[in-house]
Amino acid sequence: MRDRSFTPNRILIYLVVLLVAAAWLAPLAVVVLNSLRSNEEIAQGSMIGWPQHWAWSNYLAAWSGFCVAETCAGIRPYMLNSALVTIPATIFSTLLGAIAGYAVSLWRFRGDTWIYGIVTLGLFLPQQMRLLPWTIVLRDIGLINTLAGLVLIHTIQGLSFTTLFCRNYYVAIPHELIRAARIDGAGFFRIFWRIILPLSPPILVVTVIWQFTHIWNEFLYGVTFTSGQQQPVTAALIALSAAVADIPQHGVQSAAVIIAALPTLLIYLLGGKYFVRGLTAGAVK
């Protein structure tokens, strides 16, 4: 298995791996190429092809000119909505998760295992079980069809993940460290700021990447609790594909798809290592 020379076996291995990799990249390549082809060009051929003229204007149209429903502002407002939901919800859920994870792993209090157990149930409970109650709660507190409502939902629901991530990381911190600080008179917050947070960057990066990707890509809550101009970009993309069903505009739509996927793809490229760590941390509970 240590062999690095090119025997027939190894050539076969490389061939298979490269073929699969090509198949995995093909959908991305197709969308990128289509985002640079004009609608007519796509209509005459297929979705798969090399651009004859580079139609950069697709990106401009997708960003700020495209019509979804009756407004023609492209996907810019929806990207802004997604950012306004994702950024605060990621920050809040990560910070609260860090505090909660610290409390259940190191500070300990009565009933902490119970509470923690219930919170982690949120990892499994299907979203559908919470759709109706959230509708009622958002309506009663006046946050239905607002971005603030989505921030609230993602913050509270995100706690299941963030508390789990942080707790699993913090249990490895030696308890003596906390005990010594407590004997010296340090309280809950002082220990958190002075000891826990400085040790936290590795897990906070994982948690932030995970939450950001999750919330940015979320669709069900976005489409259920918001409408029209308040929708996040995932919901707008679906509305957009319904709108172009009559007049195909695949070039512009491809550009919109790329723009919508760009933030999470960039995060994946920059922090892929941490992304994988989050995946496995979520899987191996």
Binding site: V17, A100, R130, I183, T234, L237, A260, L269
Partner: protein, 307 residues
């Protein structure tokens, strides 16, 4: 130096609980909100599923009537059959693909990091994007079939997307593309954690790579395999975005899945009681997967503790 009992005369004598109030608030409020909403929301949905609620939640009791009407509806029956087919095909194929990719990458392939990133990147993209892109590729008038026709092979046929019997397989394809990288990542971690000494000993005994994989490495992957299967099944049961973007349940209702039925009942047909019943049924399907898994994990942990 008696640090612990030092008296601080400059401090106003606040009662202990008041001094510690911010701490209690920061510990309890988020945790309690999170725990309480999970419990109360679930119970509330279960309760609604037993009421005659339609447009708005109402009190009352109809027993299992919502459940029987959901279970009797064609929509649910098709959704459930689809879930069985999609769930098993997707889980088996994506685990197999993930394992195959992990074994290939484990052969000390050059550029492993780049390849791993390629197989994993679909996970970073939303299901809405994945579904949209695959709906183009699989669309007979736009995608692969059209391309092959344009190249001259006009009798080529690949129209699963609009074929009632095959459409569910398009969802399997897109789901495998999206998430077999996840299986690969877990399997790869498992392959790398196999004790190198045992492998070396087997090599000295003259065992070839195939034999080593079959007898030593693969058997040690069982725990990871079960974890992969359970997580993928959990994903399959709640699949919504992918179908919504890829086929929207169509053609007709051929690719209906439970999550779409719930959404349809709750928000398109305003039958809250039935929608809640369908959501509870989804939870029961999920529990049928998770409870055996939890029991298995418990036994495993007990065994590890005794070992």
């Amino acid at each position: 130096m008696s640090n612990a009992v030092s008296i601080r005369p400059d401090r106003p004598a606040l009662p202990e609980w008041m001094r510690r109030l911010p701490e209690y608030l920061m510990i309890w409020v988020p945790l309690l909100l999170s725990a309480a909403h999970l419990v109360s929301f679930s119970l509330w949905t279960v309760w609604i599923s037993f009421t005659p609620s339609t447009l708005v939640p109402v009190t009352g009791w109809v027993g299992l009537r919502n459940y029987s009407s959901v279970l009797a509806s064609r929509n649910w029956q098709i959704a459930f059959d689809n879930l069985l087919l999609f769930g098993s095909a997707f889980v088996l194929l994506s685990a197999a693909t993930g394992l195959a990719l992990a074994i290939l990458l484990d052969q000390r392939v050059r550029g492993e990091n780049v390849l791993r990133s390629v197989f994993l990147y679909p996970l970073a993209v939303s299901f809405v994007v994945t579904g949209t892109v695959w709906s183009w590729l699989l669309n007979p008038g736009l995608g692969i079939q059209k391309l092959v026709h344009d190249l001259g092979w006009t009798s080529f046929k690949f129209d699963w997307l609009i074929d009632r019997d095959m459409a569910i397989w398009t969802i399997v394809i897109a789901a495998i593309w999206q998430s077999s990288g996840f299986a690969m990542a877990l399997f790869l971690a498992g392959l790398r954690s196999v004790d190198a000494d045992i492998i070396k000993a087997a090599q000295i005994d003259g065992a070839g790579p195939v034999r080593i994989y079959r007898r030593i490495i693969l058997p040690s992957l069982w725990p990871i395999t079960i974890t992969v299967v359970v997580i993928q099944l959990q994903f399959a049961i709640s699949t919504f975005d992918l179908v919504r973007a890829l086929t929207n349940g169509g053609p007709g209702i051929a690719t209906q899945l439970p999550a779409l039925v719930v959404y349809d009942l709750m928000f398109q047909r305003s039958l809250l009681g039935r929608g809640a019943a369908a959501a509870v049924l989804m939870l029961l399907i999920l529990l049928a997967v998770l409870l055996p898994y939890a029991a298995w994990r418990y036994v495993q942990r007990r065994r590890a503790a005794h070992a």
